[in-house]
Symmetry: C2
Subunit: 169 residues, 2 copies
DNA sequence: AAACTAACCTTATATAATTCGGTTTATAAA
DNA sequence: TTTATAAACCGAATTATATAAGGTTAGTTT
């Protein structure tokens, strides 16, 4: 078996579909089909296949954070005390449960985890920071408050995609 | 004028709609209406209003970055030389044009900008870093490569939303 | 209490999604 | 090169959904 078990790799048309849906997830199948020069039937077949093969994980509305009371964002660097390996698991299990933690990344190069928080205010920040400091294994933290969102949540630059396994066109 | 010019504030039903669409942006209006105990007509009226009032900015497919050749992520801290105020503008204008820069935040507390990159490989990282170092005003950078995505792109925790201006229920 | 407004429901119409059978095109084997 | 096979595609029919219009209720204001 030289290739992934289910389905073939996305071709150029699939890439256009993905890029289009990434930007407008509620485009009608009829419109999408026009855009990729297909009739509706094979177009929706491709979309379903992309969903089933896991290239599309879901669809979501992009909400305006500021207008909904989440105008404040902050990044928190977290360093753990590595007494045991289980510390990492405990920290991860606990941190993902905090709703205000929008992202959590384990990183290399200076500290252990980088968290992105979405908050309503600095008061809310103070509350959440209290939670994080008390999480298992946390040694120290450093916060960077976001002053201005210059660019956010840009989609995947599919034009620059490396072919996942073999020929993509 | 004590309140925002157009439209009223989202009530509890609107919040449920927003939270639902955030998680499933392609839910049919019929299903959505059932979920919030409305008939389809007032439900879609509310959705349209939320769109027009800017609470919903758009819809998009969530793509699997790894399967599409963007398995590598990295954060880059950027410090500028503040010779002039225009340096900030120049840097911002230039950095937003780099497709691999998924996010760019101006932050307080140690450095100036925090960038999030989505990349296909470390080779790609090397190329993009070269671009960033050469951007106008860049004094120094520090990179943190993401080892593991513990939590990513969690939606807004609307249950914890502060009422934007007044009564939200 | 009456008038007004806003939100809602029901029904009818238009549009889109989905399914199915058949055709073309590409791929592989003989 | 020819033939067999599979994949992708198209068009038409069906089903479901979105959209629009008219009327009703509930809440507010005067």
């Amino acid at each position: 078996m030289t290739q992934s078990a289910k389905g073939r790799l996305p071709d150029r048309i699939d890439m256009t579909i993905l890029d289009t849906l990434q930007k407008d997830g509620r485009i009608s199948n009829v419109e999408l089909a026009k855009k990729v020069n297909l009739s509706p039937s094979p177009c929706i077949d491709r979309v379903r296949k992309l969903e089933q093969d896991g290239f599309i994980e879901g669809y979501g509305a992009r909400l305006n954070a500021s207008k909904l009371g989440f105008g404040t964002a902050a990044f928190i660097q977290v360093t753990l005390d590595r007494t045991t390996g289980a510390v990492f698991d405990q920290f991860r299990d606990a941190v993902v449960k905090i709703p205000q933690v929008a992202e959590c990344h384990m990183v290399a190069g200076g500290f252990d985890y980088l968290l992105k928080l979405r908050l309503s205010s600095m008061e809310a920040y103070r509350g959440v920071l209290g939670l994080i400091v008390d999480l298992p294994g946390v040694l120290q933290t450093h916060t960077y408050v976001v002053i201005e969102q210059v660019k956010q949540d840009a989609g995947l630059p599919l034009k620059f995609a490396a072919a996942p396994e073999g020929k993509t066109e």
